[in-house]
């Protein structure tokens, strides 16, 4: 029996990866520890924006609000989506997120 969430990740080349998101990980950690190219240089403190992802609209809408720091970093990010962009380090594990699809945002 696993408590992990299943996540489908679409990388920057459009390829999909299936991974397990463990309960003690943020979404960023699940991505990074499964070798997806998120630099995450700030270690998950909403400072670097290298962990930017897009979530599907209905998933996005059920998450808590973005902090001001997160929003300011995201608004200036490439491909910013008002209803979809998140810093994956700010997305905590939740059973409700089992089965989500996460798309890596372009770098830069």
């Amino acid at each position: 029996m696993s408590n992990n969430n299943k996540v489908t990740v679409v990388d920057r080349e459009g390829a999909t990866h299936n991974l397990e998101w463990e309960p003690d990980q943020t979404l960023m950690e699940a991505l990074r520890d499964n070798d997806l190219p998120v630099l995450a240089s700030c270690g998950g403190t909403a400072s670097c924006a290298t962990c930017h992802v897009f979530l599907e609209k209905d998933v996005f809408e059920n998450l808590s609000e973005r902090s001001e720091d997160e929003l300011e970093l995201l608004v200036e990010a490439e491909g910013y989506q008002e209803c979809g962009s998140r810093l994956s380090c700010q997305v905590d594990f939740s059973r409700n997120l089992d089965g989500v699809t996460v798309t890596l945002a372009p770098e830069g």
């Binding site: 520890d33 070798d35 630099l39 240089s41 700030c42 270690g43 998950g44 403190t45 400072s47 670097c48 924006a49 001001e68 720091d69 300011e72 970093l73 608004v75 200036e76 990010a77 830069g108």
Partner: protein, 417 residues
């Protein structure tokens, strides 16, 4: 690159130091297809951890005595990265291509990576070795400090750099009486301009932190514990805790002893190679020539530790390197964030963008009219545009840049390069 084409991919790589950079080299090698033994040797015993929270979150009252691990222990196992903690590398035998550990064991390397980081510069005045005089570099240091930052404790901080100021903020929040002694005439003078210094001084003073500028510490007095900090003008500051934050020095001794070219840092090229082509160095311990301005420099930040690690892992596996991120740094003091992109020179032109008294502004640094660095205070909207524009060495209209209602990108003169 297809794994078959990675040269020597079954050979051992030994990495000395499991901090931000060493861990990034180890993981980078595996991601890039290295199949040989990866031995990650570290003087610290426990699972490698994040350093920035040591002077920030960890010191808060009630915060757990933990710092986020860089990777979980299981991750190292899953990736076949052999981590040996609690032993130091004593010497490097270059002709024999081995390293000698403090337990007497020897390990052969095909490629060696020195990621030994830096240590807090020690204060060399009489009394500096008294108990109660602390520095902050490791998790053990942070826990020791946390134990003595008790409400009402008189805390003297020597040095108003990032670490000193972050500790000042944490100590003040914990109800300590904080005095910061600084030789220069403003805080963070090495890394930022006067408007930013003044702003942060004000933030600290509002929270009860006292500054003494122009203070040259000459001694620490006490019998079996620090009691007073003494300055050149004869002033004596009572202190129950003394924290020194006067910079760091690179842990280059084993490299020097092995004959690698070092001078206040191990010299490396853009690929992270030292003067021995089979030995790399990365992170705080290195000195290198900036690709942006040609200056020889050391950078003590996570960005540099990660970006050099990436170059090293790429070079060892024979793959092209990606363009390095623009250097950047952050600090949080009393909940106010300062985030810097680029490396400012003291003689850069300074353009203040926004109104500091409103708590949210940026400072733009121009060198020959081009953007060299940006400080953002209390907000991050200029951070990413700044990184891009610095990478392009964009020419900036100072009048437009001074107007925060105009985006920084629109303040760039076209064509930018």
């Amino acid at each position: 690159m297809p794994e078959q084409q990675i040269p020597h991919k079954n050979q051992p790589v030994v990495i000395i130091g499991a901090g931000h950079s060493g861990v990034a080299v180890a993981t980078g090698l595996r991601t890039k297809g290295w199949q040989g033994r990866i031995l990650l040797l570290d003087a610290e015993k426990e699972t490698p951890y994040e350093r920035p929270p040591l002077s920030k979150e960890l010191l808060k009252a009630g915060a757990p005595n933990e710092s986020t691990p860089l990777r979980k222990e299981k991750f190292f196992q899953d990736k076949g990265i052999e981590r040996v903690g609690g032993l130091t590398v004593e010497s490097i035998d270059r002709p024999g291509k081995t390293v000698l550990l403090s337990d007497g064991s020897r390990h052969a390397y095909h490629r060696l990576v020195i990621a030994t980081g830096s240590r807090a510069r020690a204060l060399t005045v009489p009394g500096a070795d008294l108990p109660g005089v602390l520095a902050l570099r490791t998790k053990d240091d942070a826990l020791e400090l946390k134990r003595v930052l008790l409400p009402g404790a008189r805390v003297a901080i020597i040095g108003a750099g990032y670490i000193g100021l972050e500790v000042a903020a944490a100590a003040a929040a914990r109800g300590c009486e904080v005095t910061v002694l600084e030789f220069q005439d403003r805080v963070m003078s090495r890394v930022t301009s006067a408007p930013v210094s003044r702003f942060f001084e004000n933030v600290h003073e509002q929270k009860g932190v006292r500054f003494v500028f122009g203070a040259a510490v000459t001694a620490i007095e006490g019998t079996d514990w620090a009691e007073h900090v003494v300055t050149a003008d004869g002033a004596r500051f009572p202190a129950d805790v003394v924290l020194t934050g006067i910079g760091v020095i690179p842990n280059q001794e084993i490299a020097e002893a092995a004959g690698l070219h070092c001078k206040d840092g191990i010299f490396v090229d853009d690929d992270g190679r030292t003067s021995d082509p089979e030995i790399y160095a990365t992170g705080d311990v290195t000195r290198f020539t900036s690709r942006i301005d040609g200056q020889s420099q050391r950078l003590e930040c996570i960005q540099n530790a990660m970006s050099q690690a990436d170059s090293v892992a790429a070079h060892i596996t024979g793959q092209p390197t990606s363009d390095p991120e623009i250097p950047w740094f952050w600090t949080v003091q009393h909940g106010v964030r300062l985030q810097t992109a680029g490396v400012r020179h003291p003689d850069d032109d300074v353009v203040v963008r926004g109104t500091p008294s409103e708590g949210k502004f940026s400072v733009v640094y121009l060198r020959n009219g081009r953007l060299s660095a940006v400080d953002t205070v209390g907000g991050l909207s200029d951070f990413r545009p700044a990184k891009k524009l610095i990478a392009q060495a964009a020419a900036i209209d100072p009048a437009l840049a001074a107007d925060p209602s105009i985006s920084l990108t629109d303040a760039a003169l076209q064509p930018s390069l």
